[in-house]
């Protein structure tokens, strides 16, 4: 299990390749990548991500450990960036390795649902018109009830 919180970009192909050759016994590897999306008007110049150093790493490790236990994963990887990112940049990725694909897919969704509302990150959108904190969505909180 590996958890990384970093400002620098990560290489998706390299991280996926490294994760995939980690262990035998995994019949299924799922990866998910989050990308900075432009707003509907196409005016987003940057996304700033603030986090809580110390608690972020701790929360991510706990969430990843829960996923490993609950979905009987062989391995899990979480990389989440902070700082100033522009549209199109990769914000984060998760990877899960399980014996069977259903567990690998479910674990990736579980990780994403928990990362959204239980990991201490806060997004701020910078546009030509100004800056605003991104509000948490009720549906993100509701998504946790599924688990």
């Amino acid at each position: 299990m590996r958890v990384l919180v970093q400002e620098a970009p990560f290489d998706l192909a390299e991280e996926t390749a490294r994760f995939a050759k980690g262990e035998g016994g995994s019949g299924a590897i799922v990866t998910f990548t989050g990308v900075v999306r432009d707003n509907d008007a196409g005016t987003l110049s940057a996304m700033e991500i603030e986090h809580y150093p110390g608690m972020t790493e701790k929360a991510l490790r706990e969430i990843a450990q829960q996923a490993v236990t609950r979905f009987e994963l062989q391995d899990a990887l979480v990389i989440h960036r902070y700082g100033r990112l522009v549209p199109g940049e990769q914000i984060m990725m998760v990877a899960t390795a399980a014996r069977h694909r259903r567990h690998a897919f479910e674990a990736a969704e579980f990780l994403m649902d928990y990362l959204k509302s239980r990991a201490p990150f806060w997004k701020r959108e910078i546009t030509a018109e100004g800056e605003a904190w991104v509000a948490a969505k009720d549906e993100d909180e509701a998504a946790l009830e599924r688990w």
Partner: protein, 81 residues
């Protein structure tokens, strides 16, 4: 204890962290003490339903005890992922 603020809570209060000497028994009591200080605290803590709290880097509730706590953090609902 150290009290930390993130995102718009940090902006409203005007600092990222501060040392607070308090005898508050719970998070809610600490919030009341802070609200009584100055208007910027009153503004930041006016709607607790819009806030989340962590004690020693664990998410918790406003009625959580503070005995032995070293670090209390206030912030809006998280927007990771």
């Amino acid at each position: 204890m150290d009290v930390l603020y993130f995102a718009w809570v940090r902006e409203r209060i005007g600092l990222p962290r501060e040392r607070v000497e308090s005898t508050a028994a719970t998070v809610a009591e600490l919030v009341e003490e802070l609200r009584g200080r100055e208007e910027r605290y009153e503004m930041a803590f006016s709607d607790l339903s819009a806030l989340r709290v962590a004690v020693d880097q664990e998410l918790t509730d406003f009625d959580a005890p503070l005995q032995g706590a070293r670090e209390v953090a206030f912030f809006p609902p998280m927007t990771g992922g």
